[in-house]
Every structure is written in C-alpha cells, then in structure tokens.
Amino acid sequence: MSKLQTAEELQREAADRILDVGLSMVAESSDVGAAANRHPSTPWMLVAALLAVSITVTIGVWPRSDVGVAGDTLTMRQLVVELANAPRVQTPEHVAALPEGTIAVRLATPTIELVKSVAAIPGLRALALGGNKDVDETLDAAVAAAIAKHTQVRLLEVHEVKRLSVETVAAINSSPSLEGLHLARAPLPDNLAKGGLLGLDYLAIEDRWRAGRPDATTTNNKRLRAIVAGAHRLEALALIDTGAIKADDIQHISQLSGLSTLKFESSYLTKPLIAALAKLDVDELDLSKSLVARPGVLAPLGASTHITSLNVSFIPRLSSNDFLGIGDMQSLRKIDMSGYRPQTMKKVFDQHIEFPAYKDIARCLRAIGKASGLEYVALRDVQGVPLATLAKVATDKWHVDLRGATLVIGDGGNPMAPVPPDHKALLEKLGVAELLIDAPQ
C-alpha cells in the first residue's frame, strides 16, 4: 500500500483484499472437508485413545502372551500403576485381610514376619519394600528371602534403603521372573548393575530424598554407563530427579538400542539437555513434572524425528514458546500438556504487559496444530482454553481430553467458564473424533 494512493484506489484494493480473503476461507473450509474424507475416524482409534487415557502412569507398555494368574496378563505399565496404588500393609493381620487375587503390595515398614507373610500370597506379581529409616542387614536378608520365594514377582520396588546387601543383590540377579526394577532413593550397587539388570525390560532410578536426607544414588555419568552396560534389553527407562545428569551423559542412553520409552523427570531442564534428549531414538518421551531452567527450553524438541508421544504435563514455567518447537515434531501423535499454566506477563518494548492467558494457550494450540499427525491432545486442568481456537485447530483425528479444564468462549458466552456438560454439542462444535470431559455433577 503506497502513501500516494487515492482513497478510491485504496477502496478498490480493499475490495480485492476482501475477495481474496473470502476465497482463501472458502479454500480452507474445503480443505477441512477433504481432510475429513481422507481420515475417517475408526473405532480402533477410539479404543486406543480410551486405553491411553485410562492409564495415567506413562512408563512402558509390554504385552505378555502367557495368560494365567491375573498379574501375568497385565502390561508392565499397568503393573506400575497397580503397585503405585497397592494396599500398604504393616502387620501380618493386614496381610491376612487382603482380598483374594491381590497382585501388588506395599510394605511401608517391613519386618521379617511381614515379609514372610507376604511371601505366602500366591498371585503376587509386584512388591514394594523399604521405608525403614534404619535398614539393617537382617531386613536385607529377609528381603532377599522374600524375593527368592516369590520367583513370580515381575516388578520390584526398593525404596528408601541406605544400601542393598549382597544377598539382596544376589536374589535380584538370580530372579527369573523379574522384568522391572524401581530403585527409589536406594543405591544402585555395582554388583547389581553388572548382573541384576541383564534381563530387565523396565528400570526406574529415583534419586529424590526428603529434605535433609542425603542423596544415596546420585545418578551420574558413571551410573548411566553401568545401566547401559548391564541393562541392554531395556525397553523403558525412568530417571527421576536425577539432577546430576548433564547433556553429555545423555548420549550413553542412545546405546540402549531397544529403548522405546524414556521418562526423564528433572529438577533442572536446560536447552542442551533437551537437545540431547531430542536426538534419542525413543518413541515416547515423558518430561512431566520436571522443572525448567527458563521458559522456552523445550524448543529444541522440534529437531526430533522419532518421538510419537510427548508428555509435558504439569511442568511449571512453560510458555507458548516451548510449544513452537513441539509443533515442528512431525512424528508426534500424542501430546499431554495437562496442567499448563500460561505466562500472563509478556515483555514488549522492554515493558511487562498483562497478556491474557487464553491468548497464550491459543498460541500453544496453533503451534501444536502444525504437527499434522497429531491424534491425542490432553488439556486436563488447563484454565482458559480458547474454544474458538481449539475448534479451528483440532481435526477429526483428534482425541481431546478437557477434564478439569475451563474454556474461554468467544461467541457471546462467559469469558471463562467450566467445560459445559453437554458432551454432544461440544463434540459437534469441536469436530473431533473423541472428547473427554468431566461427568456432570
């Protein structure tokens, strides 16, 4: 537009512009229709999405073909969930009162008698041991005996013990049924790393101690190398609060050729760390509940060509800039951005101005909308999801989870409103394959 244009010329140009935009809008709406015909939603996608939603812990999926005891038919991911929600027993009487078919038990403060009584549960497949502040050799021996007796335990969690005895390590090393091991605030002894991790599909190392407690297993370069050497069959690895791991250390993980799932919950995610993670050949990357050094550090994820499932839920201090990179991940099929809290202060011309939350979320949605293969988007507990933008960005392939979220409704509704309980109307408005909302009160 030139400054020398007359008002008439300007108006003619404006008329052309109105027509051009109209033609683009006609073309865009035709594209949506064509896309809908190209990708009809299928029942199996719906089932897959529902299954994905029902599983809240995102660590590894391994189907088992042998069907027998209830616990044998569960995937490791399901077993992890079972163990996390398992009953805590403190006395042999508690154990006696457990219902028939119990497959997972947590011993908060195990004693020898307790471990012996747990050993008598026939279908036990997942066991969590630990929690004593002063764990001694006697308990370790009992733990070893329990593991030896429960040769069918598939998942073992050892938490809050200062050290593992030789007997315990030997029992873990020799267990033919053990597929998963979770060391939570427990050491990873060298003799375990050398022999006990060989047959494992799933390993979780959790370093976090309660305030004031020493760090028992600072997972560093040396530990990672031990894991890589000992657990080369791993399909899923979880490194939780392993603050000592640096970008240079991540390359060791790339030697785990069968690894498909990585959970990396860090207390200090930096750009170099994310760039290193993006280079890994994993299908599923779970960064949920991590802490970022500053907003925007997730941007290097855009370089990933393998990741199909990304969990960035409940990470404080994320911003829409983080999602600009995520939108470039063309392999992405599933994203969980639940609990996203937008940065409502923006810096413009060196001044901080109030920036409406919904605009930031709209920016995120438009960014992830660029990932053309996206099929599952979780927005649980996100406050201020702009309905109009969501409706525009979402395709009929999307499965959207809006449980606990609130909406900004542009078409004359409330500026911020709970998700309306009319599932059918909302589903039609959004035009998505599946929608999950809270059941009406």
Binding site: A7, G22, Y358, V408, G410, G412, P415
Partner: protein, 157 residues
C-alpha cells in the same frame, strides 16, 4: 458471525493467527460491555467490526507507531469496500455465493485460482508452475476477481 469477524480482520491485514486473537478479544470486549445480549444482529455485527478494527489498529500501533495514519486510511477503505462491494450485513449469503461462483470457474482461471488461493502459492510460483509470466498471472487474477464479483452480484440479486 465469528467467521465474518475473522474475514474482516484478515481483510484489514491481520495474519490468520492475529485475526483469531483480534476476533477473540473483540468478542470479549463486547461481552464485557454487555453488547452481545439482546441486541439486533446488524447492530452486534457493526459493533464487532468496529471492535475488531480498533483491536487491529492497536496491535499494529504496538509494532510500528509510524504506520498508524496509513493503517487508519486502509481500515476506512476496507470498511467502505465491505459495505459497497463486499459482504455488507449478510456475510453468510455472500460467502455462499462466492463458494458457488468459485466452483463455476473453468480452464486457466480455475488453475490459477487453485494454485493461488487453495495452495497459497505466490504469483511468482504460480507463473513458474504454469509457464507464464508473473504479469500474466496478475492480469488473470484481476480478471478472476472481476468475474467473481459480477457472479456474486448476480447470485445475490
């Protein structure tokens, strides 16, 4: 009505993302002012377009203070063209007429329209694709617009 507001915002010069934001903000401002309730549709439409216009000008002013006079002249032109030869107060009908007229295009004009509007290629790219000169594409687009404008007028009559 939302589609109409987005169309208007884009005609004013907003990129699609900004058009969405501006429309959303315009809706909010109208809602907060109580202008969306129990008002005749033409009044709400006009208020919405005005709100979109001011939001867009604000957004542009934040980026470059020098352009504000030019922007306002352009916004005036869009406003007049919207009423004179554009959708006026019946955006849906106008857009449907445009859709129908677009479907009637044939031959070279249809090819150019497909590449320029559907595939969002530049004039230069369209010219290269069809083995034409850029000025030829420009002329064809001008003819295309004139044809469509006449067709829409006939359809709406």
């Amino acid at each position: 009505m939302r589609r109409e507001a987005v169309h208007y915002a884009r005609a004013l010069g907003c990129k699609p993302d900004l058009a969405d934001d501006v429309t959303q903000e315009a809706y909010l401002s109208l809602w907060q002012a109580g202008l969306l309730l129990d008002r005749p549709a033409p009044l709400v439409r006009a208020a919405l377009r005005t709100a979109v216009r001011f939001r867009m000008l604000d957004a542009h002013r934040q980026q470059s203070k020098d352009r504000s006079v030019q922007d306002e002249a352009w916004a005036d032109a869009v406003d007049k063209a919207w009423q004179a030869s554009g959708p006026g107060d019946d955006h849906n009908r106008w857009l449907e007429a445009l859709r129908g007229c677009r479907a009637k295009l044939r031959g070279r004009v249809q090819q150019v329209a497909g590449l320029f509007y559907d595939e969002q290629l530049s004039r230069e790219e369209v010219a290269a694709r069809l083995g034409m000169k850029e000025t030829g594409v420009k002329t064809l687009l001008q003819r295309l617009r004139a044809t469509l404008r006449q067709c829409i007028e006939r359809s709406l009559r």
